[in-house]
Amino acid sequence: MSVLIYTEVSKGKVKKSSLEAVNYGSRIAAQLNTTATAVIVGDVDLSDLGKAGAKKVLKLKNDKLARLDSQYLSSAIEQAANAEGATVIIFAHDFTGKEVAPRLATKLKAGIVAGAVDNPVISGDSFTVKKNVFSGKAVATYSLHSAKKIISLLPNSFPVELKDGSAEAVDFAVNLDGINSPLKVKEVKKDTSELNLTDAELVVSAGRGMKGPENWGMIEDLAKSLGAATACSRPVADMDWRPHHEHVGQTGIAIRPDLYIAIGISGAIQHLAGVNGSKTIVVINSDKEAPFFKSADYGIIGDAFEIVPKLTEAVKKFKANQ
């Protein structure tokens, strides 16, 4: 028996959401009196996996894994899970997790909770996990009835904890001879922003209240001073003021940073659905009736064009005194 965690490389290192998943999996392993094993595709410095709690790392080896195709990857993880006798398998609920975890659950006839937000509660045969439902309006407790269980953890649900520890890394040859996926990559367009929005702890977001794309300089300045990623509301992305990948909300991406600063965004329910998991929400809006203030921790009523540059100055002063 063991707990297996799928981890992934991004920009030359193990992803933050993967380290969160290893922390999570090693806590479950401790509860089940077993150990956590990470699996990974790619050759990078793996020491953080040990510091996050993995005792062992299986480096999945097969040329077909050059693209993380769900048909290949789900089979590869299944082979690793069988070799390790894994009963609980953890993913981060990210792009790969969404494609691969349900496929693996189907192979293993494993109950799956996609987008868990808390540690599972394990007691005898009962195994329950909480996840957000109705776009964050409610939390549901799921019971898993199967022998094998899969959880994909919503990114930013827990802070990463790295302690002393090391993991033994071994190559794990995967047999994918029977599978031939017809999916071929034609082109990959990388977004050039330094900070990945779903991983970001601080996010500065702006909406139609900014009046036009030419006014985003002050938003970027504030984000830069904080070390935050930038995001935007749907109308702003639809009008091409900002790139599509910055759109947060129900139809964009859902984020849950430590701090979300919304500037000139009224706070429609569809926008809230993508950001209401943020730990602290600040709303800056000239309309005191903006519905977003009802979902905010801190609010400033006033002209963003005056307030935002002053905030940037205040952040710089604060950072200088740290």
Binding site: P102, G115, V139, A140, T141, Y142, K186, H245, F318
Partner: protein, 246 residues
């Protein structure tokens, strides 16, 4: 081209939700149900556009009880040719995928589309499970889809960017925003929908691997603390000392 579009019946986005049976079941009383927006606006409408340009048929499939038929009729009003309702409660993603796979496996669909997730249970699982049960390739978070000479070209969101992939049909695709623009059914469509075929299929016996034992409403935020616009630096101080966010 034969296209199958999976649709879910979900409470409208603006619904104030509540629960019954000691908070173990969603309270659907008085709730306006709609086609899951990702299934409708993106998957179904793109399927219709492809059919209109290249010929073929669009079938919608739904797993649910008879009371979801108004939602299915709306899909027909938007332009689907026919519909299938599998008579089972959709309360576990794997069970739903098994129901759809059992129906679809020998029907020769070239393309199976679903939304990237429902706005009710936010699972994002049925598409991938269906692909696995039918041994098909799967692409999630698709923002563009074209088909030519039996090959689909799909643009989709990946970690830190977008990927353009090509895949010979058949395959399963989960649609994200961008694939098409929403359509409003016109009167002719609504009239035609009344007589379009809606096939009822009995449920097969499936595995139920998960269940929901409790619902809780998310805790709302307590009162918003307002900071005077003339002293925005006060916000930075509070974010540091009180919220400990910076």
């Amino acid at each position: 081209m034969k296209i199958l579009v999976c649709i879910s019946n979900v409470p409208d986005t603006t619904t104030k939700i509540s629960f019954t049976n000691n908070n173990t079941a969603f309270n659907g009383a008085g709730v306006q149900f709609v086609i899951n927006p990702f299934d409708e606006w993106y998957a179904l409408v793109r399927a219709l556009e492809l059919k209109e340009a290249q010929g073929g048929s669009v079938t919608i499939i739904h797993v649910g009880a008879a009371d979801s038929e108004p939602t299915i009729r709306k899909g027909l009003a938007i332009g689907a040719d026919d519909a299938v309702r599998i008579d089972a409660e959709p309360n576990d993603a794997f069970a739903v995928a098994e129901q759809i796979a059992a129906y679809a496996k020998d029907k020769g669909f070239d393309l199976i589309l679903a939304g990237k997730e429902t706005i009710s249970y936010n699972g994002s699982m049925v598409g991938a499970m269906l692909a696995e049960l039918m041994n098909l390739p799967f692409v999630s978070m698709a923002t563009k889809l074209d088909v030519a000479n039996n090959v689909a070209t799909i643009e989709h969101d990946i970690d830190g960017g977008t990927e353009v992939a090509e895949c010979a049909l058949p395959l399963v695709i989960a649609a994200n925003k961008g694939m098409a623009e929403a359509r409003i059914p016109n009167m002719r469509g609504i009239m035609a929908a009344r007589t379009k075929p809606l096939l009822q299929v009995p449920a097969i016996s499936t595995d139920k691997l998960t269940s929901i034992s409790l619902f809780e409403l998310s805790k709302g935020r307590t009162d918003c603390k307002f900071i005077d616009a003339s002293t925005p630096e006060k916000l930075i101080e509070l974010l540091h000392t009180e919220a400990k966010a910076i």
